[in-house]
């Protein structure tokens, strides 16, 4: 339950499911087999997603239209991997994941100063963009969504990765949406938080039916994550965007190292 709390706190903070911390803990520390660890983690992703999103509503940070559109791709990715996972080798997947995480971490670090918001509130955000009250600049800001195919592509891959590793997939989506698609960090994190619940549900029922979800362990992890995500939300509201990006890059590098070591 304690690991769930830590994972929930960090997950809520970064717009991730927190699974990226929980899976290594359950798998390496508690010595559960990988599929069980990933399945339990997927269940906690649903809890984080729902709890964090419920608390984030009303601030225009969640982009419901963009989220739903990207869910088409992420759910498809989740279903595809959920059904075919047995044919994929863990080692190949882990190496690929380590590589992707490392590349994105470097990308995040090189774009720390960049912000996607337009300070002129009269600019038309277009069908998928939006506006929200920005705490850092103190006024209403606008953003436009660019390169939608890139966003859809990364959402599909996030769905694959989510089903394979039991992580939310926000770890891939948030950096790409921020770096390439014009979405501000906080909007990307809030929208991703909402999306990962649906992404996880695209594969969790299959894992549940296969018997990989151990009910008491899953319950303890879910309750821990729910407690931890409260802390993450509190902290997230007080942290600066640049600081969040730096922290995310560090987390990605650590995850990359963990997975590389595991696959060797």
């Amino acid at each position: 339950m304690a690991s769930g709390a830590v994972a929930g706190c960090l997950g809520a903070l970064l717009g991730l499911g927190g699974g990226v911390f929980l899976v290594p803990f359950l798998n390496a520390w508690l010595e559960l087999d990988f599929k069980t660890a990933a399945a339990i983690s997927q269940v906690t992703v649903i809890a984080t997603s729902s709890a964090v999103s419920a608390a984030t509503t009303g601030r225009n940070l969640i982009n419901l239209r963009l989220g739903m559109l990207l869910e088409v791709a992420s759910a498809a990715g989740g279903v595809a991997t959920g059904v075919t996972i047995a044919h994929l080798s863990d080692v190949t997947l882990e190496r690929g994941f380590a590589l992707i995480a490392a590349i994105i971490a470097v990308l995040m670090l090189t774009r720390l100063e960049r912000r996607n918001v337009i300070s002129d509130p009269t600019v038309d955000p277009g069908p998928l963009g939006g506006r929200f009250h920005d705490e850092e600049s103190g006024g209403e800001v606008v953003y436009k969504v660019r390169r939608l195919p890139v966003a859809l592509g990364v959402s599909f891959v996030a769905g694959n990765v989510s089903a394979a590793f039991g992580i939310g997939g926000g770890i891939l989506k948030v950096p790409v949406l921020t770096a390439w698609c014009g979405v501000p960090m906080r909007v990307a994190a809030a929208t991703s938080s909402l999306m990962i619940g649906v992404t996880a549900v695209a594969s969790v029922p299959i894992q549940y039916a296969n018997g990989y979800v151990n009910p008491p362990l899953a319950a303890a992890a879910v309750l821990g994550v729910l407690i931890g995500s409260r802390g993450g939300l509190w902290f997230g509201a007080r942290a600066r965007a640049k600081w969040l990006k730096l922290m995310m890059a560090i987390v990605l590098l650590l995850v990359s190292i963990i997975y590389l070591r595991r696959s060797l």
Binding site: G58, L69, V198
Partner: protein
């Protein structure tokens, strides 16, 4: 197809309420289930409560998509209603596969 801020705000509030209710219900089942499970891991009531909590949890995102669909249809936003129905079809594939594997 520009975004209607009032509609999106109402939808967001409604979905927020749905998510919060689902999380509280699920957490209550899981917490009480764990309470029964600790002293007696074989307790049928405990396992029933734990599984009920997990099923409620899995139902939350599905219900969110269903509510979004009805909202988009009632406001005649056909593009997003279509997008939502595609997501629902994908999720029903998973549920059907899960049901077919369950013994």
């Amino acid at each position: 197809m520009t975004a209607d801020p009032a509609f999106l705000e109402r939808l967001e509030t409604r979905l927020g309420r749905l998510l919060a209710t689902g999380v509280i219900a699920s957490a209550a089942f899981l917490a009480i289930g764990l309470g029964f499970w600790f002293p007696n891991p074989q307790s049928a009531a405990a396992l029933w409560l734990l599984n009920a909590g997990l099923l409620v949890l899995m139902a939350i995102p599905i219900m969110r998509v269903v509510v979004s669909f009805t909202e988009y249809v009632s406001t005649r936003q056909w593009f997003f209603a279509g997008v939502t129905i595609v997501v629902l079809v994908e999720l029903s594939v998973t549920v059907l596969v899960a049901l077919s594997r369950r013994h």
